[in-house]
Structure formats: structure tokens, C-alpha cells
């Protein structure tokens, strides 16, 4: 097994203003399935192509945004290993008991310099629908909506992202696949724990703890086009796209959920290996890095967050 320790994004918990509207959006439009609703009203969602219990947690609140981004580790002892390293790095670690979210084992949590809560866990029950593993069809339950295959990554905004970079590299074994450096310093980083071009990304922003987007992986560019048809047909608020990112090379659309949280559907992107050097962008080409076809950032990219 080459990928050890922190494997991948596991789930993200986001705040929504209107739960019925959010559930309809994420199930009918993004194409997820509701697994269950917890006693505290949180709703747990997954793609039919994911094995684990859930990957999206919706919490009703009076503000939009993100509560926590959680990564899944390969084995339970990894949690002890990373707790030690995070503490040695100098950050406080807290514990969340197994079952605080249905189907999820014990978690450790900590707050990073950009103001976001990051969690690690190693166990999740499986839930239906999920892929078959013996003589599997390409799908068991027929995909619907945008046909999201998985929760792919998140992009978070906050201050001190150079400290985030140092922490993720030194304490959590992430690698920096790409970065943007402006004349006044580091603007953005794309970090990976495995072989995707990014598992989490950060952009410098004065206000801590903000959410730029939650991304779902689609099968290919045609699926991105179908998602665009759905966005128009159901009058979903669109930000930009379909287009492509120079950074990660992903094909993409940005749009908003009914609470104003930005979502992305994303296909493609290159494969990252840990011996690859960090790809760098400067001020002259950053527009192309963010939106490869437009070659300029839209005004919303750096200013519209939840």
C-alpha cells in the first residue's frame, strides 16, 4: 500500500439557511442520496459511487459556510500518530466520540491558522447506495441529476495561508501540487494527500474560516456540459463556466447552492505523484491559472465567499 496515513477528503460539514431547499438541491440537482437525518436535524448525504456512510453533512444554521473539513486516514492508529504530530507542531487537538455523526468512528480535530476546523477519522460504516464489488456494473443505481461521483475537495479562504502550508506539509504529510505567488506574497496553495492534483486548497483572505467552494467529481467533460444544462433548466445561480482551470487542469463550473455556498462540479485534472515538483504561477499568468479559457479571474473569485 503506497498511500498511507491521511488518504483523502472524507466529508465536509456545511451550514445551510433552508434545509428542505438544500436537500432538494444536493439530492435532485447534484445527484447525491440522503442516507439519514440525525436527531439534531443534520442531514447526511453521499454519492451512490461512494462506499462510506456519507461525504456531505448539512447543518441548518443562520449563516452559510463551512463547519469542518474532515480527512479519512487508513487505520485507527494513524489518528494517534497525527494527534502527536499536530500537538508537537503546537496546535491543540480535541476529540469527537464515535457516533457523533452516524456511521463515523472517533475523530480528532484542530483549528488551522486560516481559522478552519480540520478533522481526521479512520472508520466509516458503509451505507447504501454503494457500488457493487463482485462483477460490478459501472453503476448499480442509475445516476441522476449532475451524477456526482464523489465529494472531491474544498477551497477555503482565510489569513495566514503560508502557515497553513507549513503545517500541512510538516504535520500532516500533504504536498503542495501548485501555488500562486504574487509580488506581495503567497496568494493560493493546492495541497494533496494522495494522487489527485488537490484534496484541499487555500486562498489568502482577510476574514478567517470562509468557504469558497465544495467540489464534486463528474465523469468527464460531457457530464460537465450536462451539469450546465441542469443549472440553466432549474435556474440555479451560476458563477462561471463551463470552463477549465489551468491549475489542476480540471474542467469546471462554479455555481451556488440555495444558501449561497459555492459548489463546483469538476472533471479531469492530472495525476500527482509525490516526486513531482510544485507547479508555480505568477501574477502575469494567474488569470489563466484560475480560468484557462477566460484568462482573467472574474471579480467574484476573490470576493464572493460564504
Amino acid at each position: 500500500m503506497a498511500i498511507t496515513g491521511i488518504m483523502r477528503p472524507g466529508f465536509i460539514q456545511i451550514r445551510v439557511l433552508d434545509m428542505p431547499a438544500a436537500v432538494e438541491f444536493y439530492t435532485k440537482r447534484i445527484g447525491l442520496h440522503q442516507v439519514t437525518e440525525g436527531p439534531d436535524g443534520r442531514v447526511y448525504l453521499k454519492s451512490a459511487d461512494e462506499f462510506d456512510h456519507h461525504s456531505i453533512v448539512l447543518r441548518r444554521a443562520d449563516s452559510a459556510g463551512v463547519d469542518a473539513a474532515a480527512f479519512k486516514c487508513l487505520k485507527d492508529s494513524d489518528l494517534d500518530h497525527y494527534e502527536k504530530r499536530v500537538k508537537e507542531y503546537g496546535f491543540a487537538v480535541d476529540h469527537v466520540k464515535a457516533g457523533e455523526q452516524p456511521g463515523v468512528g472517533r475523530r480528532i480535530g484542530f483549528t488551522i491558522p486560516s481559522g478552519h476546523r480540520i478533522e481526521l477519522y479512520a472508520h466509516a460504516d458503509q451505507s447504501d447506495p454503494k457500488p457493487r464489488i463482485h462483477n460490478p456494473d459501472v453503476w448499480d443505481l442509475e445516476p441522476h441529476g449532475m451524477a456526482a461521483r464523489r465529494f472531491d475537495h474544498s477551497l477555503l479562504y482565510g489569513p495566514d495561508i503560508e502557515k497553513n502550508l507549513d503545517f500541512f506539509e510538516k504535520a500532516l504529510d500533504f504536498r503542495c501540487a501548485e501555488r500562486v505567488d504574487m509580488p506581495d506574497g503567497l496568494l493560493a496553495i493546492w495541497l494533496t494527500a494522495g494522487m489527485k492534483a488537490h484534496d484541499i486548497a487555500f486562498v489568502k483572505y482577510p476574514e478567517p474560516g470562509k468557504l469558497h467552494h465544495v467540489a464534486f467529481e463528474l465523469e468527464n467533460w460531457n457530464a460537465v456540459g450536462h451539469a450546465a444544462d441542469i443549472i440553466t433548466r432549474y435556474e440555479i445561480s451560476v458563477d462561471i463556466g463551463p470552463t477549465r482551470h489551468g491549475i489542476t487542469r480540471g474542467q469546471t463550473i462554479y455555481f451556488f447552492d440555495p444558501s449561497g455556498n459555492r459548489c463546483e462540479v469538476f472533471a479531469g485534472g492530472y495525476t500527482y505523484y509525490p516526486d513531482q515538483p510544485t507547479r508555480t504561477w505568477d501574477e502575469t499568468q494567474v488569470g489563466k491559472g484560475i480560468f484557462y479559457y477566460e484568462r482573467v479571474m472574474n471579480e467574484a473569485f476573490l470576493s464572493v465567499v460564504s
Partner: protein, 117 residues
């Protein structure tokens, strides 16, 4: 060798970094993307259109309206009661008179202030 960098000042609006061999207009477009140019004959401030980001904040000067849910991170209950609301979350019940009060983030602790116009 890295290309030389110049500073382009657009009178009354702001400044842009422009690199040797680069069209000035391209640098201005980039500066606009970074929000470095102010008071341009700009489009309406539009963000998420769903009450989460706060970009479209307005003050209702006159008229009646209904409100949908809007993020308390952008509009407090006191603000909302005083008519400071998100334009994407209000529905008219009469003719309305509005003033744009677009917020900008000014401090790390998240205080928002009026954008200078």
C-alpha cells in the same frame, strides 16, 4: 531573467502592475479581477444570489418588502430590522427605493465596512 515590472496608475481608480512586453489593457483587466481598481463604471455587485455571501447588500430607504433567509454573517437581525438587507433575499410588496451598501472585508477579525464610492 524575470521581466521588468512597471506600475500603471489609472487616475481616480487605482494602480496595476504591468510587465515588460505586456499590453497595458491586459494588466488593467487583471487588476480589475483583483479588485484593485475602484469607482469604475461597474456592474451591479452580484455574488451568490442566494443570501450567503453578502455582496449585494442594500439599504431600503422606502417601500415594503418580504425577506427570505439571509446569512447572519452578512446581515444581523438588527441590520435587517433597520432595512439593511441583501438584495437577493428581498421581494417587493411596493415600489422600493434602495441604496447600495456593498460590504468589504477590512480586518482579519471579519469586520465589514462600507466600500468607498
Amino acid at each position: 531573467m524575470a521581466p521588468q515590472r512597471f506600475l500603471v496608475t489609472l487616475d481616480g481608480h487605482g494602480q496595476a502592475n504591468c510587465y515588460e512586453g505586456e499590453r497595458v489593457l491586459v494588466a488593467l483587466e487583471r487588476a480589475q479581477g483583483f479588485g484593485q481598481l475602484k469607482n469604475l463604471p461597474r456592474r451591479l455587485p452580484v455574488g451568490c444570489r442566494r443570501g450567503g455571501c453578502g455582496i449585494c447588500r442594500v439599504r431600503v430607504l422606502a417601500g415594503e418588502y418580504q425577506s427570505g433567509p439571509m446569512s447572519r454573517a452578512c446581515v444581523s437581525a438588527e441590520d435587517e430590522a433597520a432595512g439593511l438587507v441583501l438584495a437577493c433575499c428581498i421581494y417587493p410588496l411596493s415600489d422600493l427605493s434602495l441604496r447600495l451598501e456593498t460590504p468589504v472585508v477590512v480586518k482579519a477579525k471579519g469586520e465589514r465596512a462600507l466600500q468607498p464610492v
